[in-house]
Symmetry: C2
Subunit: 323 residues, 2 copies
């Protein structure tokens, strides 16, 4: 009897590297993790990853055959297999695909950034199943995006396309880590909404439970919980965030006319308090010919596994598309 195909999905984060084996239905087996150790060379991580994977593989059912490895990592270049000067990892430019290929020379290995991986994951297993044109927005510390058009991921000529978080939302607005001003992610992200809360604390006088929380402890989850308990200032922070995000998404629609925009990641889990103002601003600012056509959706994936599923989808997307 022929073996069932399975794909290894790897998510390399600044602190933790997670992996798991993903079948064609998006079921994750033997999910595990190891510390990334950002200050050590990438070779060491890949070496430890290989050992950890082999250990897990030994306990896999023998009915499976490993047919590919997909990886998600920050500043990843799909075409080259490199990560290039990721802000949280001291690696410079390093070819992770080549490093891992030493251990797995006979199966395809692919690498892309986490937002593109999330987009492929939603397409293969989540909210974008069956869609040929959609955009996934990841709302974490920053704002990432993966744009799919004609059923294909848009990597651009250099492998770095889809930086919607670095389009300008507010001309001469907030300082961004990229060195410019007013980038969308300085408003619409976990770190962005934290800055919006500070702005509101400066601006308003009304009482708020957020007044007792220092900047360093403030995060998307704290603000969302506070908003859900009825704190007007926390609620207003989500209103402002949604307004800027929805207005930017209206512009995004004019580029690629997607059937759906899917918002995922930590801040997106705030749910309606973010989706409602975002949807309102998006609908109000969308060009006539696109109005009412574009769905704004939450992730269709089990949240714990988004990164691993997305990474594995890099391979499943290729396999299932070429059939």
């Amino acid at each position: 009897m022929s073996k069932s195909w399975i794909v290894l999905g790897v998510d390399i984060g600044g602190t933790t590297t997670k992996f798991g084996f993903v079948d064609m239905f998006g079921e994750v087996f033997l999910e595990s993790s190891l510390p990334t150790r950002a200050d050590e060379p990438a070779e060491f991580l890949i070496d430890r990853l290989h050992q950890a994977v082999e250990t897990q593989w030994d306990s896999m059912d023998e009915g499976y055959q490993l047919v590919g490895i997909g990886m998600g990592a920050p500043n990843a270049n799909y075409y080259k297999g490199t990560v290039e000067n990721p802000p949280n990892l001291k690696w410079g430019v390093v070819n992770l695909v080549d490093l891992l290929r030493q251990y797995y020379p006979e199966i395809p290995i692919r690498l892309t950034n986490d937002a593109n991986a999330a987009a492929l994951g939603e397409g293969q297993f989540g909210a974008a199943q069956g869609l040929r044109d959609y955009i996934v927005i990841t709302l974490g510390t920053g704002l990432g995006s993966g744009i799919v058009a004609n059923g294909q991921m848009i990597y651009g000529h250099d492998g770095f396309a889809g930086e919607v978080g670095h389009t300008i939302a507010v001309r001469n607005g907030r300082n961004c880590g990229c060195g410019r001003k007013g980038c969308l992610e300085t408003y619409a992200s976990a770190s962005g909404i934290r800055r919006t809360v500070m702005e509101l604390l400066a601006e308003k006088t009304e009482p708020s439970e957020l007044r007792s929380i220092p900047f360093s402890d403030m995060n998307g989850k704290v603000i969302a919980e506070s908003a859900k308990r009825g704190d007007p200032l926390a609620w207003e922070a989500f209103q402002r965030t949604g307004k800027i995000l929805g207005t930017a998404l209206a512009d995004a629609i004019s580029y690629t006319s997607p059937e759906a925009i899917i918002m995922v990641g930590g801040l997106a889990q705030a749910g309606d308090i973010l989706f409602k103002p975002t949807r309102e601003a998006m609908d109000a600012n969308t060009l006539n010919i696109f109005k009412g056509k574009v769905k704004l959706l939450p992730s269709g994936l089990k949240s714990g596994n988004i990164a691993i599923l997305g990474a594995a989808a890099l391979i499943w997307h290729e396999i299932l598309q070429s059939e």
Copy 2:
């Protein structure tokens, strides 16, 4: 001996409909035109077009075989073959492909908007030959755009993608014909620069030859000629136009990471006085990872035939891609 393949390219404008036969090298034969007559039903135009084409075809060399028809028209839907409520034509929603298929039932007929056609034309015969990721910006009365990624035109889920002219360049800016405010095309287009001249005439006191020209006679060509003669106000109008356009193109780069952006159409023929400030603003505002990678180029097509070549490229693109 087998016949050489040739494609009919048709450009339907508000006033004039042009057509010609285009070979695989982008050579146009027997270019001709007829009045569009926007107030008559579309059926009449297609009927007259068929007659005019047949008349021209009779004088074609017998060594050619017509293998397809490509059409460019305003508000065209590639998927459906329709034009939908074009502002300058009183047709409502009409399926031009079906109408024309009555006369040419056995060859492929395709329709898209003029900006997408221009993008395919540049890819097949012009400045974007060999590029898989590029954007064409058409600067006419409005600002149109055709986005190509992974070697494919981005039509979006509904056939209307690529409305970069209706992304917001200035929040709460100039009124746009689309009903919103601050759209890029209200600044960066022939009609946009005319408004910028009016703004400058209101703002400044310095002498300018543009002071003697009424709004209704002011157009891109007049302003460009004046700027080239050294008129400071006309020159400043191009500076402002280029700054807004280049800043917007920096955002466009963040979406699809094109290898080149190609600016075509009447206002683009102003040349350096437009390209220089546009390039400067684009480079200054581009995200680090894309900086210095993206070329800003003029059309590589013979200008008189852009629309016909682009329309024919719809078919040549399909034929040559599928080989």
